[in-house]
């Protein structure tokens, strides 16, 4: 799952903290932008960042899919409840041009923000994200929760597939019937029981090693001239987008 496996990309040498801050700033500005030139500039800068992020095109498109499923829904449904100039009628509804424009604006915004997020923050190792946000005065317990969840997400997914395989070799076929819900309910219950048991073992093992509520950071980020350049470039792009919107 290491996105940087095939050699370091240009962006990988930038401090993770500045990448996360740049992502947040970009999301805040672009989410309130509404004019087409500004939106196109935002999309273009997201595509450029994606090209330098070292994340493959297929992977990127796969991760943009759920967002665009919702966007399709908006494009289909929003014009039905908007006023303004009408393009035509579908049954009792009329299809409005303003609604369509609004839906497309939203699609452009959403894609620009999520694409930039995947390029700048999604390409980071998640443990690095945890390390970086611990520098942003995020409560300790929340950071711990994030790191533990990341650690055990895959373990529990495998546990689920193990239980699933066990019911399938006993010829379970899901359907619309009570047997299915009873089986799934017990599957959920068993998974919770196993995760509770595992967490007790984890806590015991951590106590044996002297854990008292603190993770020690072994390495530190270094802010360099490259990061200053990155920050300046990000600020310039944001200023450009803002200028296109509010001239």
């Amino acid at each position: 799952m290491d996105p940087t496996a095939d050699g370091p990309a240009l962006l990988d040498r930038v401090d993770p903290r500045s990448r996360i801050l740049a992502t947040i700033a970009f999301a805040l500005v672009v989410s309130v932008v509404n004019r087409p030139p500004a939106l196109l500039a935002a999309l273009a800068s997201a595509v450029v960042s994606a090209a330098f992020s070292g994340v493959g095109l297929r992977d990127m498109l796969r991760r943009l899919a759920p967002l665009n499923l919702f966007m399709l829904l908006l494009v289909a449904l929003m014009p039905l409840s908007s006023g303004g100039r009408q393009l035509g009628t579908v049954g009792p509804f009329s299809y409005s041009a303003d609604g369509l424009r609004l839906a497309l604006t939203i699609a452009a915004k959403g894609n620009a923000i999520v694409l930039l997020l995947l390029a700048l923050a999604g390409s980071l190792d998640i443990n690095t994200v945890g390390h970086a946000i611990s520098h942003f005065r995020v409560p300790d317990k929340l950071t711990h929760l994030l790191l533990f969840t990341v650690r055990y997400l895959d373990v529990l997914r495998r546990e689920y597939h193990r239980l699933r395989a066990a019911i399938e070799v006993r010829a379970f076929r899901p359907g619309v019937n009570m047997h299915t819900y009873r089986t799934y309910g017990r599957l959920v219950g068993m998974l919770l029981v196993r995760s509770l048991d595992r967490s007790e073992r984890v806590v015991a093992a951590m106590k044996c090693r002297g854990f008292h509520g603190h993770f020690y950071l072994l390495d530190h980020f270094h802010y360099s001239r490259r990061d200053a350049l990155f920050a300046a470039a990000a600020a310039a792009v944001l200023a450009g987008i803002a200028r296109l919107e509010w001239q």
Binding site: N34, S81, A121, G189, L192, V193
Partner: protein, 210 residues
């Protein structure tokens, strides 16, 4: 039950809705973290990973299938820790799957965690019932109400953000109404199972088996 990135922020009303979502999430997370001591962190993380895995289960429904959400069960098992747990889970979904986004994270967390807390407050005692039938019925109500409340909050957030979102809001509401009974059944079976096998997960007394 996700509101996509960029959807609501085009209007002032939408920005207000997003802000309210962040405020609710910040408050809920603060309470949740205060009530959770360091020793409970791994437990909450593992349970929330389990819920993450469970949300992969497709429930067949005619020619299509729906996914479990289980807000109600999350509330019954995690209590106030549901807020930080869901915040982390949805944050990971943004990073890993591109579902949701940085500005809508607060609202999406509030839409799922508020029903969890409501269910916890209403049904915490009811699922401690002594008879299996009473436990089953109250857990069914808890599961169904959890997803219904979430659907209503989700639709309300959309509808409050502008007239243009009304049809989308109704479509989302209708889709969630359909899954409520299934959520209820799975939650009910899971709660009865937990009461017999590991009642401490619900802080409940052991339910006698026949």
């Amino acid at each position: 039950m996700h509101i996509a990135e960029g959807a609501l922020s085009g209007s002032l009303a939408g920005v207000a809705v997003l802000g309210a979502g962040w405020a609710a999430t910040a408050l809920g997370t603060a309470i949740g973290l205060r009530r959770m001591d360091y020793e409970r962190v791994p437990q909450v993380a593992l349970l929330s990973s389990a819920f993450f895995a469970v949300s992969l289960i497709p429930i067949p429904l005619g020619v299509t299938s729906v996914h479990l959400v289980l807000c109600g069960l999350v509330g019954l098992v995690l209590g106030w820790a549901a807020f930080p747990a869901l915040l982390v889970a949805l944050f990971l979904q943004v990073l890993i799957a591109g579902a949701g986004g940085p500005t809508t994270l607060g609202l999406n967390t509030a839409v799922m965690a508020t029903p969890a807390i409501a269910v916890y407050a209403i049904f915490r005692r009811a699922v401690h019932a002594r008879s299996e039938t009473a436990t089953f019925l109250s857990a069914f109500a808890a599961g169904a109400l959890g997803v219904l409340l979430g659907a209503v909050l989700n639709a309300a957030a959309l509808a409050l953000s502008g007239r243009e979102f009304q049809v989308v809001a109704r479509a989302a509401l209708a889709a969630h109404l359909v899954i409520a009974p299934f959520e209820g059944l799975v939650t009910a079976v899971a709660v009865v199972f937990l009461r017999k096998v590991r009642p401490e997960l619900l802080d409940a007394p052991l339910l006698a088996t026949h």
